[in-house]
Symmetry: C2
Subunit: 330 residues, 2 copies
């Protein structure tokens, strides 16, 4: 592979001059500029990133650590983040912790070794030695959707309280009293916040305060289905179920089908935090809080780049939108 030395030789200039032309940092004569550029094109010169990173002690790479890339919320988010990063001259190194704290640590180590310029993190909730190091290391950091106490970094996330409030309003309007809630792990802030908002709002919305109607899973279909089964096992017969994120609602629907047969839908309404492609097709259609992953990703990257450039950044809760797909009376 051609090096900048080859380019300089072919252009008949000193190595330093070639570098100045190619990185555009300093003034160069029109003559040497054109000769260097020509030589670079002829040799298909592509600068050696590691060498450049070593010298400049920055990589123009951002780390993005998500909890579950197969969750559409995160794949949308990652997609938008990547777009925005590209626009701002950064590359995104995407890692998937798979809702597993050990993998978070592994990837934080890898990121540190790669010397990323900043990190977008959607944490699992728990503490860990690597997270402590993260604080010590002063790496520009933005949290996505989930907080972890002790880390004071700006967070870009969903307005969980607002989203839950819109669900509560909907449940009340539809006259549901016996509502089951299937949540996420209480260790994850999103799980805790949504559950707390739901608990706090039940009474004023005429919803049963019986905690036997509440259970939590792992924010994945498998764990959510088990939680739904436990609720039914306790003899509860809800008229509506609220799933606290997309994969959870999927698990809930699977469990209900398995338990009550294909006709379950006639008797039980579903409402979800996170909107999925197929909710419009369910019969009756499933209403949902739409969680704007793309905006969170975009703003998160923009905020992180601000941090890197020494500007101060404020946390932001992105508002949700409720999609009421119930027919007739609203």
């Amino acid at each position: 592979m051609a090096t900048i030395k080859d380019v300089a030789a072919r252009a008949g200039v000193a190595l330093g001059t070639a570098s100045r032309v190619l990185s555009g940092s300093s003034q160069t004569s029109a003559d040497s500029r054109s000769r260097v550029l020509a030589a670079a094109a002829e040799l298909n010169y592509i600068a050696n990133g590691p060498a450049r990173s070593l010298r400049r002690s920055r990589t123009d790479v951002l780390g993005l650590l998500v909890s579950d890339i197969r969750n559409p919320f995160f794949s949308d988010l990652a997609h938008a983040a990547e777009q925005e990063a590209g626009r701002l001259g950064y590359t995104v190194l995407l890692a998937n912790a798979n809702e597993d704290q050990a993998k978070v640590d592994d990837y934080l180590r890898i990121f540190a070794s790669q010397r990323i310029d900043g990190l977008l993190l959607s944490p699992q909730g728990g503490h860990s030695p690597q997270l402590e190091l993260l604080r010590a290391t002063r790496l520009p950091l933005v949290l996505l959707n989930r907080t972890v106490d002790g880390l004071d970094a700006p967070i870009f996330g969903t307005d969980n309280a607002g989203g839950v409030a819109s669900v509560l309003d909907w449940l009340q309007r539809r006259g549901h009293r016996d509502v089951a809630f299937v949540g996420g792990p209480p260790t994850i802030s999103t799980g805790a916040e949504r559950l707390a908002a739901y608990r706090a709002g039940r009474e004023s919305h005429g919803i049963s305060m019986d905690d036997a109607l509440i259970d939590t899973g792992d924010f994945l279909p498998g764990g959510a289905a088990k939680a739904m089964h436990r609720i039914l096992d306790r003899g509860m017969r809800p008229t509506a179920v609220f799933g606290a994120n997309g994969p959870t609602t999927l698990g809930v629907v699977r469990a209900l089908r398995q338990r009550l047969g294909a006709d379950w839908a006639a008797n039980i309404a579903i409402v979800s935090f996170d909107d999925l492609d197929w909710f419009e097709f369910a019969s009756p259609a499933i209403s949902a809080v739409r969680n704007d992953a793309a905006t969170i990703g975009r703003l998160g990257v923009a905020g992180l780049v601000d941090l890197i450039n020494g500007r101060s950044v404020d946390s932001l809760r992105v508002p949700t939108e409720f999609f009421d797909r119930s027919a007739g009376i609203s």
Copy 2:
């Protein structure tokens, strides 16, 4: 941040010795080993990746360029690839071309600059200067699911012909004659292969040869919906529709609902290449070819690492499995 020089100083050994201990390449005395490791731990030493990459002229990074990360096929694939790569000591740099040839070129340049050790590529189909360079550059390369002619690299992908054959069999068993086919771009090999296999198999399976029943989109819901509309606009009234990938089937269902109302399903059966979470919930449930993204991702990475290590690698078509969800008579 601590450097290996700091570690060596603290351990009271020469820089070279510290390096030998930490990279474990060469013999070192038990004494210096323990002192270096202790010093490294105390200083929270993490090796500078760029410096190491520069010197060793390898990065232990694999590039993975997918066409659309929001397509569950690719997010499953990416997930599995990442797992396998981690197991083999590599990190994956994931990029999303968003079904856009220009972005493919952008990312190939970024990958080249990052000096990745190998590339997993799911191409858009078209040719481009960057792809030519890719060939010249001799970068270890594995294609995922899609070929591009002129690039002779092992390909790990779905058995498209086999998958389509199982769909044709199903259509015949269910007695469908007027079947619509909504495909992907003919420029993408997956799109072309699936269409060709379908076309070739129609007659022997008793399916109408009328090409007005065939249209193609962009492998995204939007384009697929438009294609479905065009078929209906031509006055066709199929009893079954075959969507050529996951997002396509989503678009097809949307178009049918919009056009024929919520009751469309009573009259039209859907069958899909790629199985999606919600197909089991549709009524009637949607049958589908399951496309084993995880296996493709895992084998692709393993194959790429073999290539990097100079071993020869053969292409592989991963067999599909048909999920017949139709009730009653099969």
